[in-house]
Amino acid sequence: SQQGEEDPQALSIQEGENATMNCSYKTSINNLQWYRQNSGRGLVHLILIRSNEREKHSGRLRVTLDTSKKSSSLLITASRAADTASYFCATKQQGGSEKLVFGKGTKLTVNP
């Protein structure tokens, strides 16, 4: 079953605006990752946040993790047309197998 569920399913914004995507999960996790997928391509790793971290930054990306609510958010600041892609969260369950469980993704469109 899917562990991570992203919302919204689709998001359309103007260039320069911030984009926020959310991910909820069901069981205790070891870490949570965010990936980006351009249309028809493979996924690219963006950022990883561990279960003992609350916030992490990488360039224009900011990720938060709230383990009490079992949720994470990905904020992209000052968005660009090149940020248009689908974004997935992926979780590694605590004590579980080594595999990642991916959500269904948020499709972000940044209009120039």
Binding site: L43, H45, K99
Partner: protein, 113 residues
């Protein structure tokens, strides 16, 4: 940079054919994965391999098998292709069990007619 390559970007096969999807990584990664991606279902893990000649079933292994004879190469085999195996297939690699980031190939869009 890690590079993961897949043998074909697009593939069209007939029902009942045996299909081989090849994946090669060039960074000496121990772990490799095969996923399929379908609209509305996200990525689902088919098989993975921790090391050469090792394989583990993922969430949807039925109708598939894998082979890992060399560390850099992980093959996905559809023994008898069916139309419900029409999908995007993504291969990924990871340095080891103690790391988390997965590196993906560009994907193979398989159509079974």
């Amino acid at each position: 940079d890690v590079k993961v390559t897949q043998s074909s970007r697009y593939l069209v096969k007939r029902t009942g054919e045996k299909v081989f999807l090849e994946c090669v990584q060039d960074m000496d990664h121990e772990n490799m994965f095969w996923y399929r991606q379908d609209p509305g279902l996200g990525l689902r893990l088919i098989y993975f391999s921790y090391d050469v000649k090792m394989k583990e079933k993922g969430d949807i292994p039925e109708g598939y098998s894998v082979s890992r004879e060399k560390k850099e190469r992980f093959s996905l085999i559809l023994e008898s292709a069916s139309t419900n195996q029409t999908s995007m297939y993504l291969c990924a690699s990871r340095r080891s069990k103690s790391t988390y980031e997965q590196y993906f190939g560009p994907g193979t869009r398989l159509t079974v007619t």
